[in-house]
């Protein structure tokens, strides 16, 4: 932080600030959907000025995503340090993660965009900078929690269960039976934890094959056809 600002001018429209302002844009519209002019507009400077801080659009995007991820995932990392009951730590992670996804929709969308990226270099770069640590930590936790299961499948299932309700929100809004409650992070987390522990059979009546019978097939809250 030596040669960054020459005079004492208070407007320090620094690199970091541009990243934080552009992240929501990329989250909403994706890499192709955001132009350098768009970024410049929200950052409050002209498009040409961006090239003072970033060599090209790719660099800006990569840094914005990496920065957002680091910032949002920071608090979650503490969960993996502490020892203690693995199940409890897993449960904490699920709840914290669900709350994070509910609160930071932009962050969640950024992940979605990354998963769809078809640029190999960007993908590799983001995998290294952004996903590797979290994924490894979760895998280790998985080994503790469920020693008999494949940790990879465990982790994918866990994350998928938490994320998917949010990922599908955009389209479920237009589908029958939509309720606000299905976006509640606490409810989602409880549901996921319950599913991971016991599956659908709430009380160990697993692998029963009998059908409930046609008389009670519509007992639950089916609010639309």
């Amino acid at each position: 932080m030596g040669s960054q600002m020459i005079k004492g001018i208070p407007k320090r429209k620094t690199r970091e600030e541009i990243l934080e302002l552009s992240a929501p844009l990329f989250a909403q519209y994706g890499y192709d959907g955001v132009s350098m002019r768009d970024v410049a507009a929200v950052a409050g400077l002209t498009q040409a000025a961006l090239y003072y801080y970033f060599s090209d659009k790719d660099q800006l995007y990569l840094d914005a995503v990496g920065c957002a991820f680091e910032e949002k995932m920071e608090p979650l990392k503490a969960l993996f340090d502490g020892a203690g009951n693995p199940w409890d730590r897993l449960e904490s992670f699920v709840f914290q993660f669900a709350r994070l996804l509910a609160k930071e929709e932009n962050f969640r969308r950024l992940i979605q965009w990354v998963l769809l990226d078809s640029d190999e270099r960007r993908l590799q770069s983001l995998a290294d900078q952004v996903f590797r640590d979290l994924f490894s930590a979760l895998r280790h936790l998985a080994v503790e929690v469920a020693p008999g299961h494949d940790p990879q499948s465990f982790v994918i299932s866990l994350i998928g269960l938490v994320i998917y309700p949010f990922e599908t929100r955009s389209v479920r809004r237009f589908l029958p039976g939509y309720q606000r409650q299905h976006e509640d992070p606490e409810a989602i987390a409880r549901h996921v934890v319950g599913l991971m522990r016991n599956g659908l059979g709430t009380n160990s009546e697993g692998k029963s094959q009998q059908t409930p019978g046609p008389g009670q097939t519509c007992g639950a809250d089916v609010s639309a056809p």
Copy 2:
């Protein structure tokens, strides 16, 4: 099919054909990543000719996605007609769906793109044409299989569990512990069905809170740090 082709010229580069050829493009690169010129190139005609069949790019995209969805989901719909054991039907769906996703990567990516679309009109249109039927059918099946549970959460979890291994494949390739086996639709389907039935406790030892102890925390196949 009356006034479509005037002469007996065999080259019937009809509307449908353009849709089928453009779908893979949209699947790979998304709406913004595909130009009318790109579509024209794979369809074997010039960009201007596309406007004979489609009023604009939006229409082309919408029809391509709808068409692809109808085509790929057709075989799955039969599963919901037949009566019989709901669990068996659910299991069949999971296996068929997993096989479909494994075989038709383009189709899977199209779904992902739709979920990220930020155009309200497109979203609404696709929800109506594309997702509504399948979603309703699954919800009815959910009510039969697990009368005590919320069908909406049930369905989201089920689909998420099946789809997420495929959605994350692009980035998991670069992560430690990646194995081909994790993309096998049969393995994924078995895993999902098992999870839905019993959770992680394979034999009804649910909600046990004891830790496995530090001695065996690394017993599984951790192939990388």
